[in-house]
Amino acid sequence: MMKHLGWLLVLLACGAGGAAAVEPLPVFPSVVAGRGMTFPADTGAHPDYRTEWWYVTGWLKDDQGGERGFQVTFFRVRSGIGEGNASRFAPRQIMLAHAALADPATGRLLHGERTERAMAPLAGAAQDRTRAWVGDWSLALEDGAGHGRYRAQASSENFAFDLSLVAGAAPLLNGRAGYSQKAPDPLNASYYYSRPQLAVDGTLTLHGEARKVRGHAWLDHEWSSAIMPDGARGWDWIGINLHDGGSLMAFRMRDAQGAALWSGGTLREGGGDARRLEPGQVVMQPLRHWRSPRSGAEYPVGWKVDIDGRQFELRPLMDDQELDSRRSTGAIYWEGAVRLFEGEREIGQGYLEMTGYAGRLRM
């Protein structure tokens, strides 16, 4: 989802203002309704568009029954730089990757990151089907049979994982046949499909100790050229695998006062068809706040969510799932594993992302 914009902050930059851009920006294709999607071709990269991401979030359970959240993301950005440069190093496409592990025993997120210019064979994103990689980190659609099997690999100082993600159903198109509007202006939109309910099986290495894990995950794949509306401060997003086999995606874009500029989502109840949620059908209200001792930002870590009249409650796996990536992308935000409750019954598990709480997000 658009949460991913958080990553795409000014790279290696400080301050603002000054000289005008000298290199004319390329014309990025607009996202328009009615394009439709073809698979598996659309699981690959769309390098003409400005930004694109493959975003995997999920829950893992080890042999001892310990539960952890994980997240691994690959971004592709068309920088608009070096379009006419014959150099193999030309930074036309930049690949960024992030991985994080929510381990309640640690009490906060472990995370790692990689950034490279796309340059085969070191980093890049294939066009025919999902394969995005930066060094030895990768996400690939390895098996097109059935509904597809992905493999996700990432490693950092404290943790590493190598997971197989098996889809049980065809891609779920968000918005109108994959055209997902983000703001009142229809130009602020993306092409967006999700792969909820991926069955996870693999190895998690934590502090040097490898363990078998199983679980479920959610993959978002989204590409766009102009996504964030003016006047937006940040957003809140959830992607939940429902225990009945269904899925819920919902988001809201906030303005400077914290009011929703736009909202939307997709709900599929177990066994049923997917339903598009219009702005009026998604209402998110904070229930409980947690203040980060590091950044001082206050995040609503508990939520009341009203989806088309049904009342849900979001409770985090742990409060401290703040991610400080100021050193690479400049953003501080909350990205963590949550449980979804209806009444006192847990009906799903997934991820919640909240941006724009530690200062306005800049793009």
Partner: protein, 834 residues
């Protein structure tokens, strides 16, 4: 009177002879000042150099380096994927010409994402984001340049750089906060640099950080196996030390010159102390009679020398720091020799070096005092107490056996090989020759006075001769400093003159064309392509064009890369050959090695040499060895056609133009400027190049001359102090002469003759020694330090003038010193017999 009080009295009295003491002190101060100043300047330059090297290599464990012109970027991909490698960071280094400015700027083309993990100190900080459009990845923009603070202060916000034969305007988008101090450096994106400078597909370096737990030595071997010929894996420390080693011979030579100044100072202390012992012989004998032990007496006299040495050193240290700061500003950190250009170091307090030089000064003072002290301690008190005793001068006999032994040792030292690139034994031979020259001095004086004796000569001259042949030791004391300084001055004059003439001859062969057009050097940003060369050839007035290509050759990982010169050589006829052979029947292509290359590689004519060209090793035959004064690290010359056939490289750095008979160089130059733009190419005539080269040559020897001048001044001090002291101890003699009716002016003339004769002998001996030392400098010191040979050329008129000047100055010094003697009351002087 207690002996302690007596000692104090005697020694305090000695220090009251301000003039002589002050001169000795000054001599030591100058020696210490020069030595320490050279050390400080070079310490500062090396510090700055090392800092720059460390900064540029960052946290890299290993560096993969190839020829200056670059190597295939595919190597980077291979290295980055190697299991031993945690991170690999590619670098394209460009020495960018800045049109309109007489300088180049070192631009590093980096992949900032990679550099962030290997050399984070080089990361740019973007300060001005574009107000519209995509603000991300601002550091990657194609026109974005990032400058270190020193470069930024001088260059401003936009910068024109030369790329090929056009000008590109780059914008300074920020700084390099990790690059402090005076370092000049620029960073831009590697893709932009490849594109802009026409180096697509090429890299100059890959910095490698090894995976955890990988042994660097083993990794080096494994990675080297991946690399083609001419590309090496080295540690950053080795890269730095290779560059530092290159300047070591030069630095050692300067330090030696300073040591010689100090040695001359020591001679002067010897003169002063000896004379002061002579003057005080009765007082000293009296002390001995009072029961003062020999050892105590000796200690007291040594302490005098040490006192002079200490004060001299302290003054010298102050002077050294002032001198070093002034020299840095005036001629630069490399003292004009070109080893550390682009650095702006500052002088820091160096406690160890400072202490060392203070110690050297004290030792020089004590060494000078040692012989006089020993002589004083050996005096028989009864004889010395008698007023009519001799002067106590050293005898006039020459110790032939010792002399022969010393000369033999010098001979042996001169044929010994260098010690890790420094001609240690060469310097030993020079020191031995100097010692021999001083030993031979009394004998030479006696021979000279006998040879010059003429019955009809003026009375004053005969008197002077009588004195000198009676007391030849006087010549030793007065002349020792002169001999040393003359020997060194003469040897340097001869060596530098030989060098200069040889350089001039060398230039004539190296620059046969009428006009030279340069785009830039091997890693430079300017170059000609085939089309530009054709255009030049077609210009009116141009008869013939020859292209020159420069690159570097990395023949082994442990060695500083050699220069490669590819140009039409006409079977070697275009090179100043010192050795050659007929290679036309050899199947292998010919390569010509410079003397340095031949020395360093241990190769000679007819040997095979394997040269890595275009990533592959090719076998060449050494067709000849040529003289090269420009590249101490070695150079290899190839026929341009061979180079092009083996590498496919058509790039041209320089063009040599022969003009049609009626064409004028300046009008052709004007056409060229019109054609290429006035700032993009440097156009020079051989005459201009020669002028510039010789100016650089002279600048290099500027410091040398400075030191020589100091040595000579110190030598003259020797004559002045000797005669000043002698004129006092010889008051009775002069009083007697006055009684006999001599006029003060005549006594002055006697002194003048003595001074002239002493100087003449000193100069003559000094010149002989100097000639021998010159040969050592040419054939041992230069050859072993810099690996170049030269032909002996003697600057007769210069030497003649120098001798006349020195003898004249000696006469003046002797007469001036003796002025007091001329004024003495004759009656009083004779009566002063106690």
């Amino acid at each position: 009177m207690s002996s302690g009080a007596a000692l104090r009295h005697v020694f305090l009295a000695s220090l009251r002879r301000r003039m002589a003491t002050a001169l000795s002190l000054l001599a030591i101060a100058l020696g210490v000042a020069l030595g320490l100043a050279v050390h400080l300047i070079q310490g500062a330059a090396l510090d700055e150099f090392g800092r720059g090297m460390r900064l540029v290599s960052g946290q890299a464990d290993l560096q993969v380096l190839g020829p200056r012109a670059g190597f295939d970027e595919a190597l980077y991909v291979r290295l980055a994927q190697h299991p031993d490698v945690a991170e690999a960071s590619p670098v394209l280094e460009i020495e960018a010409r800045l049109p309109g400015r007489d300088m180049t700027l070192r631009i590093l083309g980096l992949d900032v994402f990679r550099a962030a993990r290997v050399s984070p100190t080089l990361l740019p900080l973007v300060e001005d984001l574009p107000s519209q459009g995509d603000t991300r990845f601002a550091a990657l923009r194609e026109d974005a340049l990032f400058l270190s603070s020193a470069a930024r202060a001088a260059l401003g916000d936009t910068l024109d750089v030369q790329a090929g034969l056009r000008i590109a305007r780059l914008r300074v988008h920020g700084g390099l906060p990790g690059v402090g101090g005076g370092l000049w450096l620029a960073v831009m994106d590697i893709a932009a640099a490849q594109q802009l400078f026409g180096r697509i597909g090429q890299l100059s370096r890959v910095d490698v950080r090894l995976a955890a737990g990988v042994d660097p030595a083993h990794a080096r071997v494994r990675l080297q196996a991946l690399l083609p010929a001419g590309v090496s894996v080295v540690t950053p420390e080795a890269v730095a030390s290779q560059s530092v080693e290159l300047s070591r011979a030069y630095r050692v030579n300067l330090a030696m010159l300073a040591a010689i100044a100090l040695l001359t100072g020591s001679f002067l202390v010897f003169s002063t102390q000896f004379l002061s012992v002579v003057r005080r012989r009765q007082e000293l004998a009296f002390l001995r009679a009072l029961g003062v032990e020999r050892a105590a007496l000796m200690r007291g006299l040594l302490a005098e020398g040490a006192t002079i040495g200490t004060f001299g050193s302290v003054v010298g240290v102050g002077l050294a720091y002032a001198l070093a700061a002034a020299a840095l500003g005036l001629v630069g950190a490399d003292l004009g020799a070109g080893y550390f250009s682009g650095l702006t170091p500052s002088i820091a307090f160096q406690p160890v070096a400072t202490l060392l030089y203070v110690l050297l000064g004290v030792i020089a003072g004590m060494a000078g005092a040692a012989f006089p002290a020993r002589a004083a301690a050996r005096m028989a008190p009864a004889r010395s107490l008698h007023a009519g005793g001799g002067d106590g001068m050293p005898g006039g006999t020459v110790r032939w056996r010792a002399l022969l032994l010393i000369l033999g040792m010098a001979g042996l030292a001169s044929i010994a090989p260098p010690v890790s690139g420094v001609p240690v034994f060469g310097y030993v031979a020079i020191a031995l020759l100097l010692g021999a020259a001083v030993l031979v001095l009394p004998g030479a004086t006696r021979i000279a006075t006998v040879a010059l004796r003429r019955a009809d000569g003026p009375l004053t001259m005969r008197l002077a001769q009588a004195r000198l042949s009676a007391v030849p030791g006087q010549a030793v004391i007065a002349g020792a400093g002169v001999v040393a300084s003359v020997a060194l001055a003469v040897s340097m004059l001869v060596m530098v003159h030989s060098f200069r003439v040889s350089v001039d001859d060398w230039l004539a062969i190296m620059l046969p064309a009428d006009l030279y057009v340069r785009a830039s050097g091997a890693a430079g940003s300017g170059h000609f392509d085939a089309e530009a060369v054709a255009r030049v050839a077609a210009l009116p007035g141009v008869a013939q064009v020859e292209a020159v290509r420069f690159d570097t050759l990395r023949l082994s990982a442990g060695r500083f890369p050699m220069t490669l010169i590819a140009r039409p050589l006409h079977a070697g006829a275009r090179l100043p050959l010192v050795a050659s052979d007929d290679w036309s029947n050899d199947g292998r292509p010919p390569a010509w090695l410079s003397e340095a290359a031949a020395d360093l590689l241990g190769l000679t004519v007819g040997d095979e040499i394997s040269l890595p060209l275009g990533g592959r090793a090719h076998a060449f035959v050494v067709a000849g060895i040529w003289r090269d004064y420009a590249r101490q690290h070695g150079a290899v010359a190839l026929e341009l056609d061979t180079w092009r056939a083996m590498t496919g490289d058509q790039t041209v750095n320089d063009l040599a133009l022969w003009l049609q008979p009626q064409a004028r160089a300046d009008s052709v130059a004007a056409t060229l400027r019109e054609h290429f733009g006035a700032t993009l190419v440097e156009i020079t005539t051989p005459g201009k190049l020669r002028q510039v080269t010789l100016a650089v040559f002279d600048r290099t020897f500027f410091v040398t001359w400075l030191m020589e001048a100091v040595a000579i001044v110190i030598g003259l001090f020797g004559i002045a102090t000797t005669f000043a002291a002698l004129s006092i101890s010889r008051r009775k003699e002069f009083g007697m002469l006055r009684h006999l009716g001599m006029l003060p002016t005549q006594i002055g003339r006697v002194l003048g003759w003595e001074g002239a004769l002493t100087a003449l002998v000193g100069v003559a001996v000094g010149m002989c020694a100097g000639g021998a030392i010159a040969l050592l400098l040419i054939h041992v010191i230069n050859r072993q330090s810099f690996h170049w040979g030269m032909a002996l050329h003697i600057p007769y008129s210069l030497l003649g003038g120098f001798v006349l000047l020195l003898v004249g100055l000696s006469v003046f010094a002797a007469r001036w010193a003796g002025r007091r003697a001329m004024r003495v009351d004759a009656v009083l002087a004779v009566r002063e017999d106690w």
